[in-house]
Amino acid sequence: MSGVFGGTVKRKEDPRLITGQGTYTDDVKLQNLAHAAILRSPYAHALIKNIDVSKALEHPSVIAVFTGKDIEQRVGPIPTAWLPPDSDIKATAHPALALDRVRYVGDGVAMVVADDLYAAKDALELIAVEYEVLPAVVNQEAAMDDAAPLVHSDAPHNIAFHWQAGDATDEMFESAPVHVSHRFVQQRLIPNAMEPRSSVAQYNKSTGSLTMWVTTQNPHIHRLLLSGILGLPEHKIRILAIDVGGGFGSKIACYPDEALVGFAAMELGIPVKWTEERRENFLVTTHGRDMILDVDLAGEKDGTLTAIRVRNMANMGAYLSTAGPGVPTILFGLIVPGAYRFAHAKVDVYGVFTNTTPTDAYRGAGRPEATYLLERMVDLFAMELSMDPVEVRRKNLIGADEFPYHSALGLEYDSGNYQQALDKAIGMIGYETFRKEQEELRSQGRYVGIGCTTYVEICGLGPSQVAGAVGFQGGLWESSTVRVHPTGKVTVFTGASPHGQGEETTFAQIVGDRLGIPIDDVEIVHGDTDRIAMGWGTYGSRTTPVGGNALAIAVDRVIDKARKIAAHMLLTVEENVEFDKGIFYTNNEDGAVRQATFQEVVLQAYLAWNLPSGVEPGLEGHSFYDPVNFVYPFGTHFCMVEVDRETGEIKILRYVAVDDCGRVINPMIAEGQVHGGIAQGIGQALWEGAIYDDQGQLLTGTFMDYAMPKAHFFPEFETAFTETPAPQNLLGVKGIGETGTIASTPTVVNAVVDALRPFGVRDLDMPLTPEKVWRAMEKGGESA
């Protein structure tokens, strides 16, 4: 049963999920459970003149109503946990309920607790709030204007921070043989994990301990932050997040709502639950992207790229969310040079306050935005030179023999074989053939196009020293405990907190593989701060490269101790004991092979009747693994599209993805991650986008107005992997959760722009709606 690493294994988490036995937060039922509902500001910017809660309190089912003033001294503000260095950041804390001013539509104003959910919602309508509406600002560029209203009085020009990296002078661009400039708009996206956010809190006054079920990607970070906000020692808080219905970054942040639920349970002495409606999810749960990017690219006439420069105006929303400032700076900025040999790069980032929902990580966080501008620029550069875009990429890709590679922005890319992935993808899509067919089809009046992205991403977030250097207010190592039971079965406690990525299976594969035991003998425990000492959660594709390696090290520590015991049992010394496929064996001088199964050795460890001297009973391995570097997955994606001349409708004809995430533990799960990522990335390219009006009202606030991708929007994706092991970790793994989202957005837009070439179209802002595409053809058609 060993050797399961690299094999397709059905998921261990599925039986409970397909039979309706999962435990998502809203499924938690407790005795005397009260329900909370939150009154939210209907205005983007307003002063609160008065709040009258008397009518709500008269409602027979209402237990309590809290306003900002009621809790001011009791519930601390929600902090920002990522403060990029050297950026004079205005880390304006977010009050859990607005005090005298609301700053975005959805900002919490009051909370009702009632004994019935319907009653709690009824009572919201009985609260009378007097507002004085103020002018709002929603666009980050407009917000930087002298005349713009200020979101926070201590942030002039609404600038929350200014951050820079790298070096490239004006002269490098002005004097370059080829210089391309362009502005890209990364529209705002709404993550829309299918499970709405929710929390349930229960307080035990006699022990002073608070138990909370929370929809979170990082329970320990929530415990840490809630400890500060609620003034409870960390060890008195238990956070549970067993089944979480997707996160995509939006469940990293600590929100006012969770703090309020915790506070209400402590204050009222009864358990309290709050679950957001989808409408609230649209308004309040963090959004992603939203950047205006001015880019310069310099190169030679032969297609060599030399320098890149980006000015990023990033819309942070009304408050700096938990990891918000890290996204447009560190996660975006450092990867701007991508997979190419740039000699110079410079990134200038302005984080800007507006009267909109705070932005934070959304699948890929920063890296999709960087890859998008780079891959679009490479195509514009190729267009300028009338070179084939694939040729430009081939010419500039970092060579397989150049790793570790030091990028112009100071990163050390661990390993790669970018050409191999490119060649494989070219073969799969049949690039040359398509180019010939394209000519033919164009002459028939059919507008087909092909687009490509060659990318590298930075993931496996750690190492802790780097986290500190870039201003993340936490470590980024990961913990693992491997507890072997007397029966030889194993429970693993991991600080990573997967929520759909299948780590209950891949982690069991790692253990099964190393110990030579069936994966059914391995149970993975995650998402419970009482059972797991510490951990940093799941985001940034860190779970397998960091948490998985922590696990492998802990398993090896188990084996090391077991080997000592086995040697004693087999009457030899440790050095003479081999371990393979679950069997310890020895070849002694007398020629006799002696062996003991893993289970036999484990039993001895617990019986402890005859242990070698100095060896304690029991068998557990622990690891707190801090990686030495990030990991850098890479790959090439291709897409073929056809644009309908009459309607502007885009049809995706084929989509090919070749990704390299180092060694693949479970191809089925890795492929599933790629599929989901591609769908989300194409969602941004073609359909999705959050739109605010000038007053800061979210116009795309339901699934009726925000175009979520459906099954029939897509063709079948053709996926493949190349495997270039990560050289700096035990398992040789990188990360796969974000590659699809990072690569697919520019791939699709490149394909559409390629299809629109006959109309002289150079670029279109996302999403590429049929109307926009049709207009471009009309306009381009005229001028051509």
């Binding site: 039979t19 989901g676 979520m708």
Partner: protein, 179 residues
């Protein structure tokens, strides 16, 4: 707040329930809050996501758009009544085999919708499955493996019809895979 309750009799997963419900109570809340059948999920308030899909007299419906009182004298099947771990419904088996789920939140509803699709069209093409899934949103899977899961279930059901005397579903699977 004098709201008079209404008595209803509903058969849920084969069990007859006599209940007193508020007239405005949604079926999904009856299932989740009053009966503890939390396998049916709520993903939206606008009848768009399909996470709450259940079978009402054999037809897939979104239980967030149905009032509990409307289901008087009717039959409801939720994911808890679809199959058990020892006896999975072909659709459940398809989702497990083909990795049709990731976070699993949309899954009960998507599986119920799939049952509905196969009910109407036991041999759907890929295209037909994709269109049949119009009413559901999955943010995790990119749908490809959901489509495969439904195809798998269709094939499984077909082979079980052919060999109707063979009952155990694991034998069906072998028959299917052996093709």
């Amino acid at each position: 707040m004098a709201i008079t309750n209404t008595s209803v009799e509903i058969t849920i997963n084969g069990m007859l329930h006599s209940l007193d419900v508020e007239p405005r109570l949604l079926l999904v809340h009856l299932l989740r809050e009053k009966l503890g059948l939390c396998g049916t999920h709520v993903g939206c308030d606008t009848s768009q996501c399909g996470a709450c899909t259940v079978l009402l007299d054999g037809q897939a419906v979104k239980s967030c758009t149905v009032l509990a009182v409307q289901t008087d004298k009717q039959t409801i099947t939720t994911v808890e009544g679809l199959g058990t771990i020892d006896h999975l419904h072909p659709v459940q088996e398809g989702f497990w085999e083909k990795h049709g789920l990731q976070c699993g939140f949309c899954t009960p509803g998507v599986m119920m919708a799939a049952v509905g699709i196969l009910e109407q069209n036991p041999h759907p093409t890929e295209e037909e499955i994709r269109h049949g899934l119009e009413g559901v949103i999955c943010r995790c899977t990119g749908y490809q493996n959901i489509v495969r899961a439904v195809q798998y279930a269709a094939n499984l059901t077909e082979s079980s019809a052919v060999e109707s005397e063979v009952a155990a579903s694991n034998i069906h699977r072998e028959a299917y895979e052996g093709r």
